[in-house]
Amino acid sequence: MGERSPSRIPLIAGAFALVVYALAFASPYGLRVLTVAGVYALATLGFKIVFGLGGALSWAQGAFFGVGAYVTGILGSRYGLGFETTFPLSMLVPLLLALPVGLAVLRLESHYFALATLGIAQVLHLLAVNLPELTGGSNGLAGVPAAVLFGWPVPRGLPMAGLVWGLVAVGGLIGWRLAQGRIGRSLTMLRDDPLAAATLGLDVGRLRLTAFCISALFGGAAGALAVHTQRVVSPEVLEFPVMVSILTIAIVGGRGRMAGAVLGAVLLLHLPEWFRFLERGYLVVYGVALLATVVLAPDGLTGLLDRIARRLSGGRPPILAAATEPPPLPNPPDGMTVEGVRKSFGGVLAVDGVSLALRPGTITGLIGPNGSGKSTVINLLSGLERSDAGRVRLGGQEVTGARADRLARAGLARSFQAAALPAGAGVLEAVAAARLAIDPDAATAQAHARWALDRLGVGALAGQGCDGLPAALRRRVELARSLVRRPAVLLLDEPAAGLTDGEKAELATLLRALAGEGMAILLVEHDMEFLLPLAGTVLCLDRGRVIYDGPASGVRLDPAVAAAYLGRAVSA
C-alpha cells in the first residue's frame, strides 16, 4: 500500500543493472527476451491498477493486449499506417471497448466480474479466428512494419529494447503516481472493504471503471509493442497464455507494487530460458511459481523485499503531515428526515413504516430488543440497503433510494457495530481514507486525519498500524474516520459497547460537543445508562415498528417499551 516508501536504492540499482546488462552483456537473443519482458511489464502495470489496487480480477487484460496488437497489425500491414497513428489507436480502441463493457459489469461481485471479462476475451478470440478478411484468420497477418519514430524505423535489438523499456519507465512512473495519489488509495480502500468504501463516499462503480479503462490503455500499448517486436500478429495474442503470463507476473512480482510488474516480468520471461528442456512446457513452471507464491508469499517478491528493507531500516517512524482542521461542509445542513420507510427480506417485514427526524444539534436514541430492526434502519438510512417504500431527505435534498456513496457525499457518516478498519493499514492512512472523496490530494487528507485523531485524543496513534489495537482504541479510530468528514448527520451503531465507565463518560462529552456544533446524531444503543441522559428524543422499535417516540425521560415509564424491551432487560 501507498504508505510504505522504502529507500529507492534497490529500484535504482535494479534499473542500472538492467541497463548494464542490455548494453554490455546481452546477446541479440537476450535483447529480444528483454524486449518481450518489457512488453509484459507494461501490460502488467495496467493489470496492477485494476487488480492489484482495485482488487477486480479482470481476464480482459489479455484481450486488451490482443486488441492493441491487432489494431497495430491490421493498420500497419494492410494500410501501411505509421507508428504515430497506430500506437495511439492501439490504446484508444481497447479503451473504447473497456468503456461499455466496464459500465455493464463493474458492479458485479468479483467472481462474476472475472467470468464476464473472460467471456469477452473468448468472444474476441473467436472473432479473430473467424474473420479472416480482417484479421488473417488463424494464420494471422505478417509484414507488420517496425515502429517508426520521427522518420526513423526502430531496428530490432538494442534500439527496440530501448524504446520498449523507455515506455515501461514512463508507464511505471504514471502507475506509481496513480498508486500514491487519491485514485490509488481510493482503489485500495475499495479492494479491502467495498462496503466501508461506499459509506465513506467513494463511488465504487466509477472508480473501478476508471481503473479498468487505465488498464485497457496499458494493455493496448503493450500489444502494439509486442507486434512491432514480432512483426506478425496472430490469434495467439488473444490466447490464454498471454493472460496467464500477466497474472503470474503480477502475483509473483507482488500485487500492489508497480515495481513488482517490472521485477516479475524480467524474472518470469527469463525463467523459461533456464527451463529450456521443458520446451513449451514452460507454463508448468509458471503454474508452480504462481501456486508457490500465493501459498508461501502472498505479497510477492516486492512484499518480501519490503519486509527485508523494513527490518534493515529498523522501522523508522514515517514523517507525518501537520494537523489541519478540515473545513465544515459548505451548505448549512438541515438534518435528515425519514418518512415511512419499509423493508422486507423475503417474506419477513424487517422495518415497517419507520419515520424519524434527525435535527441539527440533537441526539436521537434508537433502541429495541435484538432483531427489532435497528441495524436494518441504520443500513437503510446509510444506503447499504434499499428501502421498499418511504421518503428520505438529507440536508434539504430529496435522497430517497440514493446509494451509500451519494448519501455520504451529501453529509452522512456512519459507524459499524464491529469497528471496520482495513487490515494491514496504518491508523493515519485508515482515517485519511475517509477524506479521499473530498480532499484534493492524499497529503491534505492526511493532515485532516491528524486533526480528527487529535480531537479524539488519540493523536499519538497516527504512526501505528490498525492491527492489534485494543477494542476501545479501534472504536475511537473509527469515530475519527466519521468525524474527519465533518458530517451533518452521524449514525453510530452501539458506540459504547465494550467501553469502560470512564471511556463512556468521555464519549458522552464528545458527542455532546459535536451536537453543540450543530451535528445531528443518531445513537443505536443497548446501554440505557449511557443513552438516556444523552438523548433528547428516543425511538423504540419492536418487530420493525416504532412503539415509542418521545422524550428520553419517558422511556422507562412507557408500558409498551417495558413489555417489549426494558421489562425483559430488567428481569434478566
Binding site: L115, I120, V123, L126, L278, L291
Partner: protein
C-alpha cells in the same frame, strides 16, 4: 424429427456438462471458493481414460471406477495444495491458486500427451440405434444413463446418508458444523474428491464423441461457470438445469449456424444475464454481502 435428434444430442452433452457443473457447485458450497481448475480436471479425466484404456481391454464403462478413484485422489491433492493452506485468506487467493493448478494440469498434459485431440473408447459400443425413425448413437444414451446414475447416486448420498448430512452441514455453515462435532476439514477434503471425481467422469463421457485436448479445460470451466451462474450461484439443481440449457443452446445454434457462432452467442447471452439478472435466472442460493 431433426429437432428430436438434436434434443437427444443436446441432452447427452448437457448430462456431461451437468456433472462438471455439479462438481463445481459442490466445492463452491462447501468452501465458498471458486475452483477454477474444474475444467482442467475434466480434461485430466478424459486423458486419464485415454491412457488407461490400452491396459484394460474392456468397454469404456469398465474405466469408470478407475477414473473415479484416481480423480478423487487428484481432488484430494488439489485440496491439500491449493485450498487448505489458503482457507483463512480472502477468496481471491483460492481462485488464483486453482488457476495455478489448472495451468499445471493443462501444460503437464501437453508435455505428456502432445497437443493432438485424443478419443477414449465408447462406454458400451459405437453402434447407432434406430428407434421409431430416430437415429440415436448408443454412446449418447450411455452418457445420459451414466451421468444420470452418478448424479442420482450423489443426490442419494447427500440426502440419505450420515456422510451426506455432514457434507451438507459443512456446506451450510462450517462454524456451526464444527461446533456440532462434524470433522469439517475432512468433509471439505471429501467434497473436493467428489468434485474432482465428477469432473473425471465427465471427462470420460465427453472424450469419446467430442475428443479431448490439453486445452479443452478452459472451455469447460467457462461452461460450468455459466451453468452455475444461470442456475443461481450455489444452487445444485440450478447447476444441473443450467448445464442442460447451455448444451441445448449450443447444439441448437450450432446446427443452424456454426459452432463458433454458438459459442459467441452463448457468451453474449451470459453477459446479458450478468448485467440484467446478476442473481441468475432462478435467483441466488448463496447470500452475498453488500
Amino acid at each position: 424429427m431433426a429437432a428430436l435428434q438434436l434434443l437427444v444430442n443436446g441432452v447427452a452433452l448437457g448430462a456431461a456438462y451437468a456433472l462438471v457443473a455439479l462438481g463445481f457447485v459442490l466445492v463452491l458450497n462447501a468452501t465458498s471458493a471458486v475452483n477454477f481448475a474444474q475444467g482442467d480436471l475434466v480434461m485430466a479425466g478424459g486423458l486419464l481414460a485415454v491412457a488407461v484404456a490400452p491396459l484394460i481391454p474392456l468397454p469404456g464403462i469398465a474405466l469408470l471406477p478407475v477414473v473415479l478413484v484416481l480423480m478423487a485422489a487428484l481432488g484430494l491433492v488439489l485440496a491439500l495444495a491449493a485450498y487448505l493452506p489458503l482457507r483463512r485468506r480472502p477468496p481471491v487467493s483460492v481462485f488464483i491458486s486453482t488457476i495455478a493448478v489448472g495451468i499445471i494440469l493443462q501444460n503437464g498434459a501437453a508435455i505428456l500427451f502432445g497437443p493432438e485431440p485424443r478419443a477414449a473408447p465408447p462406454l458400451f459400443g459405437d453402434d447407432t440405434l434406430h428407434i421409431a425413425g430416430l437415429a440415436v448413437p448408443e454412446q449418447s444414451l450411455a452418457i445420459v444413463a451414466v451421468a444420470g446414475l452418478l448424479i442420482g447416486a450423489q443426490q442419494w448420498v447427500f440426502a440419505r446418508t450420515q456422510l451426506g448430512r455432514r457434507l451438507r452441514a459443512t456446506a451450510q455453515d462450517p462454524e456451526m458444523a464444527r461446533a456440532c462435532g462434524v470433522p469439517v476439514t475432512a468433509m471439505i477434503l471429501v467434497t473436493f474428491a467428489i468434485g474432482a471425481a465428477c469432473a473425471g467422469a465427465a471427462g470420460l463421457l465427453l472424450a469419446n464423441r467430442y475428443f479431448v485436448t490439453p486445452t479443452s479445460g478452459g472451455d469447460l470451466i467457462l461452461k460450468a461457470y455459466i451453468a452455475v451462474t444461470v442456475g443461481g450461484w450455489g444452487s445444485v439443481p440450478g447447476a444441473v438445469v443450467g448445464a442442460l440449457l447451455i448444451a441445448l443452446f449450443e447444439v441448437g445454434v450450432s446446427s443452424v449456424l456454426s459452432y463458433p457462432v454458438a459459442l459467441g452467442a452463448l457468451y453474449l447471452t451470459l453477459l446479458a444475464i450478468l448485467v440484467l439478472r446478476p442473481q441468475g435466472l432462478f435467483g441466488e442460493a448463496v447470500r452475498r454481502r453488500g
